[in-house]
C-alpha cells in the first residue's frame, strides 16, 4: 500500500474509533479530497467531521486549538508545509503553551499534518522543509512520516496522548509503498523496532549485525528512504556496512535507539532535507558529542540542503537539495 493511502486509512480509522476526531483544512472535501488526495473519500463517509475551510491557515489551526481545549481531537491539514509560517503564532504562543501556561488545567491536543519537502519542482514557497523552526519548541512534538513506520500505529499513539503534534509528511513519500519491518527483517536487512514510552517507533535497519557496522546514519522522512537505498546498494556492491536509524518523533528525540547504535559504531552521520545552519543535525551532533566524547572515532557528520531558496528549475533544485547523490557522498565520507 502506498503511503498516501495508508495515511488516509489511518485517518479513517481514527474517525471510526473516536467521535471526537475532526479533520479540518483547505480543499479536504470530496470529490477533490485534499491537494494530495490523502483525505479522499473521508468527507463523504464522515459528513460534518471532515471540513473544508477558507484559505486561512492561522484561523484553521487556531480553531483546532479551541476544539482541542473543548475535548475534541482535531487534526488540521496545512496544504503545504511552507504555509506553517502562517500558523507559527498559534502553534508557539497558543497551542504549545496552553497546558503548561495554565498549570495543567487544560490540554490542547491538536495534530497538524502537513505535506513538506522538495523534488517536485514547486519552487521557493511550495517545497521547503520548515520543521527545524519548530524543533525545541517546549511541549510540542514534531513527528515525521517515514515508509518504515505504520501510519495507523503512529496516529493511534498520537491520539492516545495529549501533547500537540506537528506531523511532517514528505510529499515524495505519498506514492511510495510502505516498507514495514516484519519478524525482525526488512527486505534482506535486519530491522529492529523500538517503541518509546509514548508509543512512537524508531526503526533501526542494518545489513549485518551491529558490531559489524562501521557507522550510524540518522535520518527521517524521504531522506531516510534515500539513505536506505544507498546503504542497501553499498552493502551489496561494496561491503560497506552502515546502520540506518529512523525515528518517528524527531523533536524531542527518543535518544535510546540512537545511543544504542552510536555506542557500538562510534560514528554518526545525520541527514536532513531542511537547509543547513542551526539544524536537527546540529542539535544531534551537540548531544552525541557531549555524551560520547572520547568514544567517537570521528566528529559527528551532518548533511543538509544548501542555505538558499529552492529553485523551481529541476536542475537548479537538484543542485541545492539533498539528493540521492548527495546522500551517497555524505555516507562515503563517514564510511572510511
Amino acid at each position: 500500500v502506498i503511503a498516501a493511502r495508508a495515511i488516509g486509512d489511518a485517518l479513517r480509522g481514527a474517525l471510526e474509533e473516536d467521535d471526537r476526531v475532526i479533520l479540518v483544512g483547505e480543499d479536504l472535501v470530496d470529490p477533490y479530497g485534499g491537494a494530495f488526495k490523502v483525505t479522499r473519500g473521508l468527507s463523504t463517509d464522515f459528513p460534518g467531521r471532515v471540513r473544508s475551510t477558507p484559505v486561512s491557515e492561522g484561523a484553521i489551526v487556531g480553531l483546532c486549538a479551541g476544539l482541542a481545549l473543548s475535548g475534541y481531537r482535531p487534526i488540521a491539514e496545512i496544504m503545504f508545509g511552507d504555509f506553517l509560517t502562517l500558523c507559527f503564532d498559534q502553534i508557539v504562543n497558543h497551542i504549545a503553551k496552553y497546558e503548561a501556561m495554565y498549570n495543567g488545567k487544560v490540554t490542547c491536543p491538536v495534530i497538524i499534518r502537513t505535506p513538506s519537502g522538495g523534488g517536485r519542482g514547486y519552487g521557493p514557497t511550495h517545497s521547503q522543509s520548515l520543521e527545524k523552526h519548530f524543533f525545541g519548541v517546549p511541549h510540542l512534538r514534531v513527528v515525521a512520516s517515514s515508509l518504515v513506520h505504520d501510519p495507523a500505529a503512529v496516529l493511534r499513539a498520537l491520539l492516545a496522548q495529549d501533547r500537540p503534534v506537528l506531523l511532517i509528511e514528505h510529499k515524495l513519500l505519498y506514492p511510495l509503498h510502505l516498507m514495514l519491518p516484519a519478524g525482525g527483517r526488512l527486505e534482506g536487512d535486519i530491522a529492529e523496532l523500538q517503541v518509546s514510552a509514548g508509543g512512537l517507533p524508531t526503526v533501526s535497519i542494518r545489513p549485518v549485525p551491529r558490531q559489524d557496522c562501521w557507522f550510524t546514519v540518522l535520518a527521517y522522512g524521504y531522506q531516510a528512504e534515500l539513505a536506505r537505498r544507498v546503504l542497501s546498494r553499498l552493502a551489496v556492491e561494496e561491503e560497506i556496512f552502515g546502520e540506518l536509524v529512523v525515528p518517528s518523533q524527531i523533536s524531542p528525540l527518543d535518544w535510546e535507539p540512537i545511543d544504542a547504535s552510536v555506542g557500538v559504531t562510534r560514528s554518526l552521520l545525520v541527514i536532513e532535507e531542511g537547509v543547513e545552519g542551526f539544524t536537527w543535525g546540529s542539535e544531534v551532533a551537540a548531544q552525541i558529542s557531549s555524551r560520547f566524547f572520547g568514544e567517537l572515532r570521528r566528529p559527528v557528520a551532518t548533511a543538509a540542503s544548501d542555505p538558499t531558496v529552492i529553485p523551481s528549475s529541476k536542475t537548479l533544485e537538484a543542485g541545492m537539495l539533498m539528493t540521492s547523490e548527495r546522500v551517497e557522498q555524505a555516507i562515503r565520507k563517514v564510511a572510511v
Binding site: 475532526i22 460534518g48 475551510t53 477558507p54 486561512s56 492561522g58 484561523a59 484553521i60 489551526v61 487556531g62 480553531l63 483546532c64 486549538a65 479551541g66 476544539l67 482541542a68 481545549l69 473543548s70 475535548g71 475534541y72 482535531p74 503564532d89 498559534q90 504562543n93 497558543h94 503553551k97 496552553y98 503548561a100 501556561m101 495554565y102 498549570n103 488545567k105 487544560v106
Partner: protein, 315 residues
Amino acid sequence: VKHDDNGRSAMPAADRADARLVGAPGEPRTERLYRRMRFIRRFEESLLDLFERGLLNGTTHACIGQEADAVAIVEQLDADDHMFSNHRCHGHFLARTGDALGLMAEIMGKPEGVCGGIGGSQHLCASGFMSNGIQGGIVPNAAGIALAKQLDGSAGVSVVFIGDGTLGEGVTYETLNLASLWRLPLVVVLEDNEWSQSTPSSANLAGSMRDRFTAFGLQVFEIDSTDVEEINAIAERALAQARTRGGPVAIVIHTYRLCHHSKNDDNRPAEEVAARWKLDPIEIHGRRLDSSIRAAIDVEVESALQDIIDRALSL
C-alpha cells in the same frame, strides 16, 4: 446560582467567590452590578498600589473605566457559556469567576494562584474562562470553542473580548469569515477604549469598526456608553440573538480606559482623561443607589479585598 431578576446564573464559576465582592444570591441587580464594578475597580487599584510598594513583579494591564463591560456581559452568561479574554483580563476574570484570591495569588506568583503563578496577569484559566496575551490569536480559539458547542448540541455560546488595537490583526478577520460561514455561536465583544497602548485609534484604524463586522455578515450591537445598565440591555439582546444559533454576533462598546495602558505609560492629554472621568461607570451607576446602601457595599468590598490581600501575602 439563579439570580432574581434576569433568570441567568450571572456567576457560574463562583465557587471561590466572596459574597461581599460578588453579592449574595438574590441581591437586587442594581446593587449587584454596582458591587461587582466596585470590586473590580478596587481590586485593580490595590494591584497598582502593590506594584508601587514593590510587592508585585512583572506587569499588568488594568481596565479602570471599562468595568461596566465585563460586569454587563457576564450578567448575560450561563454556566454553559465560555469566555475568552485578552491581556486586559482582570475585570473579565473577576466578573466571571469572582475568584479574587486566586487572581491575587496568581499575580503575586504564588502556587495557590489560579495558574500556579505561571500565567500571571495575562494568562488565566478557570471554569468557563481563559485569557492569553497575544493580540488576535484568541479569536480563532474562541471560534473553535464555539464550533465545539455547535457540535455538542450545547446551548452555550463562546464569547471573546478584543480591543480596538486587535482590529489590526489579520487572524481576527480570518476568524470572522469562518465563524460567519459556519454560523458559529460566537460573540465578539469589541471594547473600543480609543487608545491602542499609546496610539489613538484615529492613527491606527481606517474605515469603520462596525463595517468590519457587517462585511462578514455579523449582526452588530453597538453602543457608546459606560453605563452598565445600558450595556447590560444591549448585551441581553446580543446574547439572545447569538443563542438563536443564527451565527456570530458582535457587540461594539465605545468606552474609555481611565488608567494607563500597563504601568506608568500614559502620554494622553490630561484634559482628555479628566473629561472622561466624568463618565466613570462606577459613578454613573453608583448614583442610582441609595447612599447608605452604596456606602455599605463600599465598606464590604474594602474589607473583603483587604482580607484577600492579607491572605495572598501570607501564602
